[in-house]
Symmetry: none
Subunit: 414 residues, 2 copies
């Protein structure tokens, strides 16, 4: 059972819109256990769409087309598919009635081409459009070898039609599609290539569950996926594989889930403990506090903090002794620890993080681009750590934010 | 001259990431006058990638591949292309040296598979990676019939490599590309549909130059493109069209260029005037200061500022009178103006912006989600403005940052 997705539309080929439909459909089909081996984009062009259908016939059982169901001249998908499978186009009575009702409600005579949207293939199933006028189509060839699913291009129409109308049909049509169960593990502080090396034998021998690493910015995720109809077996298999993984790289593991982030985990830990954090940011110029501020409900754990980009603001805002800066410089252990402890005191929080370093492009106080200190103050003590990372300004700043979150997370779970 | 784009990566087929690379490359190739007739996505799979290359050979002159240049076992693109065109893989000396330097800077031994990233095809041109380690490749067959461009998958590496390294090569290789001259105008404060309505006749009658609007997050850009071999004629035609546009929507125009941003324009204006800005952020929790901090060399115009998320930090950090907050609340004109003038005083700058409002998900002080105040203090006066925008937390915060930048820009060009 193999599927492919064909998006039809010249605006995609020109890069005027992003092909989010392919992403959505790929996710939905994967969740149904239907393997998608190809995605393609073709313009509003008869010959090239015809050629693409011939190619798809050779390699796929289910061909999902999106786009080109509208009322204008360049909407060709239905016509070309009809010719391709040897059917003709007929009016769908329900869709036609809906269009008449719409015409009445609008109190405006619709141009004739609008009715093209309500045509379907002979011997096909019409898919009503919950949020628009173009009728979708599900068609299976007489020998039951190939199926074609035609969906409208606008995501606001495609998504509801898929979820409400097409998905139930696919579930029924392809019962062999096994259920998929996934678990996503998230790691910070280990690169993708090292993770893959540490788990090389598990990856090499994977079958069911499968094990897929993905490098994200500053972190790596591992997706474990089981194909089975038995939910409790799925859990057992995922638990077993996860246990092996945690034994090897568990020290870098920080949380579960595709939508999870290190900052979410840290904020959850703070909420659980009823504690609060502040920050004094030089190097990162607000990026750490911004990452907190993106989360709803963060006010219970984050009252605010300081951006002390210049030496003078470190003195003025944080009341750091100017002689300390004169003696040690701003990119120093002494300075970062003073920033952390002073901000803790001023904001009256349980934790304070301080960031100071060289984001570039030029070196600072004789220290290379990518050098930085992070300080962590608690009510009992202040500690600090030196880092040296490669990369450009934005990367250095985002690495520092993640490193700060990681320090705080480790303190919180101590 | 026909091109196609092949994105390689199982994560695309599973819908785990959106194929924004195809959109970016499609735009860039269109701007070079290179027609893209197909886009496709294929997984990290030898046979299917091989089959896709054979298909592409039959229909395209330039084949652009992205993804699969990384260090792990499923990164196959270079190997398969090498086999396909009958070349072998060799080490690129520059890329190799860069990796050694990186290893040294990281102070950590890299695993051997990392060096796979620095391999290129025999008889090919290595494309250095401005923001990463994987070396790109440009290869033309001996009979000059087909060209292959191999780019890394992460957009942060692909975009700079394309713009800085690959685009000049394509321009030289496909000289018809030299016949396009573009100018990008950027607008803030006007929506795409309104812009398109205001310029409807210019868009309807466009031919040479063409006029293409693009809606970006919180802004709209207009790309004017002339096709000609005469550079001075191009300039004249672009000037004439721009003049017509500026007459109608010039009040929303803030700058030129595809890489430009409102924050860059504001920082440039501050530098020109030798003036400095600070901020007190409640609603935006550091997002405004972070947008400044992303720019290199910003320290001359931005000494630092405050994140005063809670009422108490407004009092403690900014010395705002508690009775003012008790009387007016934090989401108020009185509070935002106090935040602006107090932060100006404490940071000793020429300008201060203050942000306070309701980012959601819950309403605050009886005010609806999306309501906010921005205050702007100068040495002479403090002014403020109320906004009410739709959308979710992140969108409200980013709208507020843009609105603040726009207020400051208008003050700077007064």
């Amino acid at each position: 059972m193999q599927a492919e997705i064909i998006a039809v539309g010249t605006e995609l080929l020109l890069g005027q819109i992003v092909n989010t439909n392919a992403t959505f459909l790929a996710q939905e089909l994967a969740n149904l256990g239907i393997d998608v081996y190809y995605q393609s984009v073709v313009g509003d062009n008869r010959e090239r769409l015809r050629a693409q259908l011939q190619l798809a016939d050779q390699r796929s059982d289910l061909i999902v087309l999106c786009g080109g169901l509208g009322p204008t001249e360049d909407d060709l998908t239905k016509q070309i598919v009809a010719e391709h499978v040897g059917e003709t186009l007929i009016q769908d009575p329900l869709g036609y009635q809906k269009l008449l009702d719409y015409e009445k409600a609008q109190n405006q005579k619709l141009t004739q081409n609008n009715f093209l949207q309500t045509l379907i293939l002979t011997n096909s199933q019409a898919l009503q459009n919950p949020t628009g006028l173009a009728v979708g189509i599900f068609y299976t060839t007489k020998d039951s070898q190939k199926s074609y699913l035609l969906l409208p291009g606008p995501p606001k129409e495609l998504k509801p039609m898929f979820r409400q109308v097409a998905r139930p049909i696919l579930k029924q049509q392809f019962p062999e599609a096994n259920q998929l169960y996934s678990r996503v593990l998230r790691f910070y502080g280990i690169g993708e290539s090292r993770l893959v090396t540490d788990l090389a034998d598990l990856i090499a021998t994977q079958e069911n569950p499968t094990l897929a690493p993905y490098a994200k910015e500053n972190e790596v995720t591992l997706r474990l996926t089981v194909k089975t109809t038995d939910e409790s077996l799925a859990k057992t298999l995922l638990d077993e594989l996860e246990q092996k993984i945690q034994l090897r790289v568990g020290q870098y593991f920080y949380g579960y889930g595709e939508e999870n982030t290190l900052v979410k985990v840290v904020v959850e830990l703070l909420k659980e403990k009823g504690q609060r954090v502040t920050a004094a940011e030089s190097l990162t110029a607000g990026a750490f506090q911004r990452s907190l501020g993106e989360l709803p409900g963060v006010s219970s754990v984050f009252p605010g903090g300081f951006v002390t980009y210049s030496a003078q603001t470190k003195i003025d805002f944080l009341q750091i002794d100017p002689s300390l800066i004169a003696e040690h410089g701003t990119v120093s252990q002494a300075c970062v620890e003073a920033m952390a402890s002073q901000s803790l005191k001023l904001a009256k929080t349980d934790y304070a993080l301080a960031f100071t370093g060289v984001a570039g492009p030029d070196e600072l106080e004789g220290q290379a681009v990518g050098s930085f200190w992070i300080g962590l103050a608690t009510k009992e003590e202040v500690t600090s750590q030196f880092y040296r990372v490669a990369g450009q300004r934005e990367k250095i700043q985002s690495r520092a934010v993640m490193a700060g979150l990681d320090l705080l997370r480790k303190e919180l779970i101590k």
